[in-house]
């Protein structure tokens, strides 16, 4: 049981904007998940009203997006959403519009504000469509339904386990349970297919919260037909099917275990209005939905930037010395800091880039990584190490530049509230978790924020850390080279290329959807869309891996070309992406040489290509010009290349196409 002081604290932290006296109670209290990584708004009520006073709707929207970045409870979320709906904006500069449909078997109206508000937090303007609950099958099958007219880009299946539970009698044998679950999952898969056929939409499937009550006690786990056991099995099979079908998961079952079932499910709400997800869980639910949407569009964070003193270890190394800092076994504080290091190391293993940003003497700070026996993170784990006495805002910019990633890909972890406030103020696009005072809670705070939400785990992810380390080696080589040509020659580069294949499917989807800088059209493709391209003879797809004497850079570039409808001798280069890891290596030239050769072999005579400018792809604004394309009607956005007159561009990259058969799709 909580004591009264704790209850009071919980209420205050949930509702910081309300200053009315609050009295603790001995009656049951609602359990609320809190988004502890977000800072508390100093004066929410006043700020909201001020936000709406801005002269232009787009300014109001910016203000609301700033407010959405604070810790919001259920009531604050509704207010921001109401203010948002009054603006009536369908699009706005700097916000990505997304059409999301939700197919539900319970009431979800109370979840929609939280999805839109969480969208603002990540600069997405989400238009949500929801049909009547329980009508989702009809909506999917009826071509005249409002769902079809809405044409969602993403469809979320938010269904409960209740139907499945009704189909399984308690006395069912294990085989009968298996059969029923297989049939239900099979039906669901056909609905996923239907949703895809209709709109080529990405699919998100929510896991089943286990709201069942115990019948046998612990023995539930041993009875095939026991409701708790059935839901657990359903989730297992659901995840298996989702993996096979390239469906994204929204794991609210896990979240409800983390926060406690009472925080996510309230039987009273179910009886009152068929609400399967408790209203107080809505803000977190919305954030989880939007994380998945963002991850699917390559908008998850990429780099964890760590402060050192009192973050990675206890104490201040400049004052306390290498021997004086608190780290590792033997001290609870030391173990807590070590736990953060272990978490960072695991993030690195899954492909997150690590950086250090600390106010310290560089030599003293680096010595800890090299010499302290308890350090889990080593100097080689850190891709960018910045320790000096300069402003951290400037240092974060330097880190982003050095790693060649957007500054909005950074998460900045610092125990010092002054540094956090300063970075939030100057760089609102950097995620800055509100680290709790207790070091023991650092990992939980960082992990629950979901900054690094993933929709795949590819071999590229596993190797990314080594590739960044190899890049540091290449930079050293560049520093010692006489000239750029000298450097490129010294790298002994070769390219392996070929059409898209099933083996590389996951990496191709990931590369296209995560790449924002070298991305000619920022057109996104679903997993199924890429699978279809692999089997489409008329499409010319190309993937490129770049190797050099330091290592394999991996699959770093893809091209998708299709004959235009007017003239099949003209191929439209509808998307071309390249990883920022290999910028400045002439790969774009060699890739174009290869594309031209492959296109000529199939009899094509010209390429047409769009450059669609975004806030992030300025780096390639002159790409087509440099490759010899001509502007169509003097436009800077549409480009034309005559293949007959094309002269191969000179590069330092050799062809090593043996492992993948080179050339066009129909050669494969």
């Amino acid at each position: 049981m909580r004591n009264e002081a704790q209850v009071t604290n919980m209420l205050v932290s949930l509702n910081p904007s309300l200053n009315d006296p609050v009295v603790a109670t001995r009656s049951a209290t609602p359990r609320c998940p809190t988004m502890s990584w977000l800072p508390i708004a100093p004066d929410f009520r006043g700020d909201l009203r001020a936000a709406l006073d801005a002269p232009r709707p787009t300014d109001c929207l910016e203000n609301l997006a700033s407010l959405a970045s604070f810790r919001l409870g259920f009531l604050e979320t509704i207010q921001i959403d109401r203010a948002l709906s009054r603006l009536g904006l369908k699009e706005a500069p700097g916000f990505l519009p997304i059409r999301l449909a939700i197919l539900a078997s319970s009431t979800i109206d109370h979840l929609l504000p939280a999805i839109r508000v969480a969208g603002l937090r990540r600069r997405l303007l989400i238009d949500v469509h929801s049909g009547a609950y329980g009508q989702y099958r009809q909506d999917l099958l009826d071509p005249t339904s409002s769902l079809h007219q809405f044409a969602p880009q993403t469809t979320l299946f938010s269904i409960t386990a209740r139907e499945a539970l009704a189909a399984v009698p308690l006395t069912a044998t294990a085989a009968e349970v298996d059969g029923t679950i297989a049939r239900l999952i099979g039906e669901l898969r056909s609905l996923w297919r239907k949703a895809r056929e209709n709109a080529n939409a990405a699919i998100i499937q929510q896991t089943f919260i286990n709201v069942t009550e115990s019948l046998f006690g612990s023995y539930d786990r041993l009875v095939a037909g026991a409701p708790a056991r059935v839901v657990a099995r359903l989730n297992d099979e659901l995840c298996e099917a989702a993996a096979q079908d390239g469906v994204l998961l929204l794991d609210i079952a896990r979240a409800s275990e983390r926060d406690g079932l009472d925080a996510w499910f309230d039987a009273g709400r179910w009886f009152q209005g068929k609400l399967e997800i408790a209203p107080q869980a809505a803000p977190l639910y919305g954030d989880m939905v939007v994380r998945t949407l963002a991850a699917h569009r390559g908008l998850s964070k990429k780099c964890l930037v760590l402060d050192l003193d009192n973050t990675l270890w206890g104490g201040v190394v400049g004052d306390d010395g290498l021997e004086g800092i608190i780290l590792g076994e033997g001290s609870a504080v030391g173990e807590a800091h070590l736990a953060l290091q272990c978490h960072a190391k695991q993030l690195k293993e899954r492909g997150v880039i690590l950086a250090v940003c600390s106010k310290n003497e560089a030599g003293i700070a680096e010595a800890v990584f090299r010499e302290h026996p308890e350090m889990v993170l080593r100097r080689s784990d850190i891709a960018a190490f910045v320790a000096n006495w300069d402003d951290k805002v400037e240092n974060l910019k330097i880190i982003a530049t050095r790693l060649n990633i957007g500054i909005d890909s950074l998460v900045f972890v610092d125990d010092n509230p002054v540094e956090r406030a300063r970075v939030r103020q100057s760089l609102p696009m950097v995620a800055v978790p509100e680290l709790p005072d207790d070091a023991a809670q650092y990992v939980r705070c960082l992990a629950e924020a979901g900054y690094f939400e993933a929709v795949a785990f590819t071999s590229e992810d596993r190797q990314r850390a080594e590739q960044y380390a190899a890049n540091a080696e290449r930079e050293a080589l560049l520093a010692s080279a006489q000239s750029m040509d000298d450097f490129l020659r010294g790298l002994e580069m070769s390219v392996v290329f070929g059409p898209f294949t099933a083996v590389d499917h996951a990496r191709i989807v990931q590369l296209i959807n995560k790449t924002n800088q070298f991305n000619t059209t920022t057109r996104r493709y679903t997993s199924e869309g890429i699978a279809d391209l692999i089997n489409l003879p008329s499409a010319l797809t190309l993937q490129f891996r770049l190797l050099d004497r330091i290592g394999d850079n991996g699959l770093v570039s893809t091209m998708i070309l299709r004959p235009t409808s007017e003239d099949e001798g003209v191929l439209e280069l509808e998307n071309w992406v390249m990883s920022c890891r290999v910028f400045g290596r002439q790969l774009e030239f060699e890739a174009m040489n290869i594309a031209v050769e492959a296109a000529r072999r199939r009899g094509a005579k010209a390429f047409i290509a769009d450059y669609i400018a975004t806030p992030k792809n300025h780096v390639i604004s002159t790409l087509y010009q440099s490759l010899g394309f001509a502007a169509v009607n003097g436009s800077a956005t549409r480009w034309f290349l005559d293949l007959e007159g094309y002269m191969a561009l000179n590069t330092q990259i050799a062809r090593a196409g043996a492992t993948i058969h080179a050339g066009a799709q129909d050669d494969a």
């Binding site: 002081a5 209850v7 009071t8 919980m10 209420l11 949930l14 509702n15 309300l18 009315d20 006296p21 609050v22 009295v23 603790a24 109670t25 009656s27 049951a28 209290t29 609602p30 609320c32 009520r45 009203r49 409870g73 259920f74 009531l75 604050e76 509704i78 207010q79 109401r82 203010a83 009054r86 109206d109 109370h110 009273g268 709400r269 009886f271 009152q272 209005g273 609400l275 209203p279 107080q280």
Partner: protein
């Protein structure tokens, strides 16, 4: 925090703030006699939202039977005050 038992008027005032926030309308004034249909846009959906907001703010849980039978704001105030004692 010192022991402080909220009066019915204080609870009513807090309710007014909640409904103003919920509907984003600072002109709303609740009285003990106010019924849901007296407040524009306070529909059944926002009624549940209101109940949830009160439960979170005061740290109480209403019984489903009570939620179905409240006749006016005063009844909700009275029940809240009862749970706070």
């Amino acid at each position: 925090m010192p022991e402080h038992r909220m009066t019915h008027d204080e609870i009513l005032s807090a309710f007014t703030h909640i409904v103003r926030d919920l509907l984003l309308d600072d002109s709303i004034v609740l009285t003990m006699e106010t019924r849901r249909e007296d407040v524009p846009y306070w529909d059944s959906f926002n009624y549940i939202n209101f109940i949830v907001a009160v439960e979170i703010k005061f740290g109480v849980k209403f019984k489903v039977a009570d939620i179905e039978s409240f006749v006016n704001v005063g009844a909700i105030v009275a029940e809240t005050a009862k749970m706070l004692t």
